[in-house]
């Protein structure tokens, strides 16, 4: 048998039908659904008298639109948001799919709820009408975002029409230095490859620095594979993965667990498997990083200065000029001199318990800068409950942070949590696009510990100075 990558193995296990030209019907094991990209798909089913083929493999949770303030029990003020959430309530009920409503303590960001409840398991195919579905690749599951037409296609047929992508290996060797996190890894990889560097590929992240990460850290790395343009990001499952999955509500039990483990242990890339592209980065070369522009590839170590457009070539020159104007930055300014108005800790990138622990560690016994607006939005109700139990919520509140309910919140500003024009935010989320966090808002992406450091000092800060 010819050697295979992890991606090859998962792909081969899910081919329901293949045409001569390689066009494949790929079977989907888990379909995650949220309120923004699904209403038109369910409407499509109704119009054609189709049903959901596998309601037991379909899991819905509202996250993008939901307010994160405590008064949300009184309902959603914004009419359009309310209608979208109500549509998901109704569609979930009408089509008999699994559902975690806003009132359920298990509600949260779809990419945090899926793994937490044991829906996401190694070797699965996972899709969702959301680009950050790449998150689930941390389990060695082939996971990627799809559009609404494909959501409808999966609802109706439990398959997707696919062509196979190419294989890319991203190896992070050795150990990370203190203060360097999974977020710094994933941003640094995008800085290296560019936002289109992964287009046409499925990335497998490997190497000692990846193996050393917890599941939370691995999810952060894979989450931003899409920001590098890749179809999906993968990490081979290992003992850390199995330990995380074991005992979760929807993970297999007993004999089925043993059978699953037997298969999961075969899910790795063979030694002499073929890679179409290989990137190697030394873990020790990665520094705590921040973004300075309006593309996730605009990333530099916190010790650097704002670049000059003339440092770039081709179309990037104009793009950088536009970015710096939008961001209100002058070339040559030290990144650590950039003053911040707002700090946002949360999102499917960094809204898990380990992220909150890392931020709380920096904030313990400290206060945020006067006038700073700072919020923590746990990724799920269960993350929130755990953080309260561990005393993290108290640390945040005593430091001056708002302690919110679970949702996508300020990552994409479809809910009341938004930036005003010109407001500058240090954010643990995944996109720094123009207007992403609110029209005219300025976003600097960084790790939870770096975000906490900025909240304390009032400017972008090298977290190592506070450790």
């Amino acid at each position: 048998m010819s050697p295979k990558t992890l991606y090859d193995k998962i792909w081969d296990a899910h081919v329901a039908h293949e045409d001569e030209d390689g066009t494949t019907l790929l079977y989907i094991d888990r379909h995650l659904v949220h309120e923004v990209t699904s209403p038109q798909a369910f409407e499509g089913l109704r119009m054609t008298n189709r049903t959901v083929r596998a309601p037991d493999k379909t899991i819905a949770v509202p996250d993008h639109n939901v307010p994160t303030t405590l008064d949300r029990v009184d309902g959603i003020d914004n009419e359009e948001s309310r209608i979208q959430v109500e549509a998901l309530d109704r569609n979930s009920r009408d089509f008999g799919i699994h559902y975690y409503p806003v009132s359920d303590v298990r509600q949260g960001i779809v990419h945090i709820v899926g793994p937490e409840q044991g829906w996401t398991l190694p070797g699965m195919t996972v899709v969702c009408g959301d680009s950050h579905t790449a998150t689930h690749g941390a389990f060695g599951a082939l996971a990627h975002g799809i559009g609404t037409s494909e959501v409808e296609h999966v609802l109706a047929t439990q398959t997707l029409i696919q062509k196979k992508s190419k294989n890319m290996k991203v190896e992070i060797t050795g150990k990370l230095r203190p203060g360097v996190t999974a977020k710094d890894i994933t941003l640094s990889v995008i800085g290296e490859t560019g936002t289109a560097g992964g287009t046409g590929y499925v990335i497998e992240y490997c190497g000692e620095a990846i193996r050393d990460l917890s599941m939370e850290g691995r999810m952060t790395v894979c989450n931003m594979a899409i920001e590098g343009g890749a179809r999906a990001g993968l990490i081979a499952p290992d003992e850390i993965t199995f330990e995380y999955c074991k005992g979760r509500p929807h993970a297999p039990k007993g004999a089925q667990w043993e059978a699953a483990m037997a298969w999961w242990k075969t899910l790795y890339s063979d030694d002499d498997a073929h890679w179409d592209k290989v990137i190697t980065i030394k873990g020790e070369d990665i520094a705590p990083v921040v973004t300075w522009g309006t593309s996730p590839e605009d990333v530099l170590p916190i010790t650097a200065t704002v670049p000059d457009p003339s440092d770039f070539n081709g179309g990037k020159v104009g793009a950088v000029q536009r970015s710096l104007e939008y961001m209100g930055l002058t070339p040559g300014t030290p990144l650590s001199a950039i003053e911040i108005d707002t700090v946002f800790i949360g999102s499917c990138t960094n809204g898990r318990i380990e992220d909150l622990r890392a931020a709380a560690e920096i904030l313990r016994g400290k206060k945020i800068k006067d006038g700073m607006r700072a919020m923590v939005v746990p990724g799920s109700g269960l993350v929130r409950a755990q953080a309260e139990e561990e005393g993290l919520a108290d640390i945040f509140k005593e430091a001056g942070f708002e302690w919110r309910l679970a949702g996508c919140s300020m990552c994409l500003a479809m809910n009341p949590d938004q930036l005003s024009p010109g407001e500058r935010c240090a954010a643990t989320s995944n996109r720094n696009f123009e207007g992403r966090q609110g029209r005219g808002g300025r976003t600097h992406l960084l790790s939870p510990a770096m975000a906490a450091a900025a909240a304390v000092t009032g400017h972008l800060t090298d977290v190592r100075e506070l450790m």
Binding site: T48, G129, H153, I161, A196, T199, E434, G435
Partner: protein, 201 residues
Amino acid sequence: MDKFTTITGIAAPMPLINIDTDMIIPKQFLKTIKRSGLGVNLFDEMRYDDDGNERPDFVLNKPQYRESEILVAGDNFGCGSSREHAPWAIKDFGIRCVIAPSFADIFFNNCFKNGILPIALPQEAVDVLMKDAEKGANARMTVDLEAQTVTTSDGESFSFEIDPFKKHCLLEGLDDIGLTMEKVSAIDSYEARTAQQRPWV
């Protein structure tokens, strides 16, 4: 789905790289539960000022580009989120074809589900087409899917590659779900087989 065969129309030049889906259709317009009516908000934050007035210097607000049917843009067009609202807004505006050196994966796939043809061409070819688009309404560009060519107003022609299956579906206006339903027995037997092999799924 609408068929795509040939179009001859005005091409709007947008010489900017990394045009992301938040630029194409900002999040506040994702709250709709319909597919239609998004054209007026295409490129909303670039197209209108804070008071909702048109910015006269934005390409699609210029008189000669208001009826554009083709868009010529920079590298990595459509990067960012999976929102199909982006191609819905493009189509609703009247644009049926986007030409760029490269496209983000999910956006690229979403186009085909909506009768929009995304064409990836080398930078040098896009540069020529960009110049042609800059001539305005008197310069009509022609896109011929059957022949797989883009032709400038001066008659300079470029061939493009396209997946044969995607081409077939666009030319015929085929519905993916209908096509897959014809293979339902393959899905049935896959499910029966894997229920034995991986019962925990």
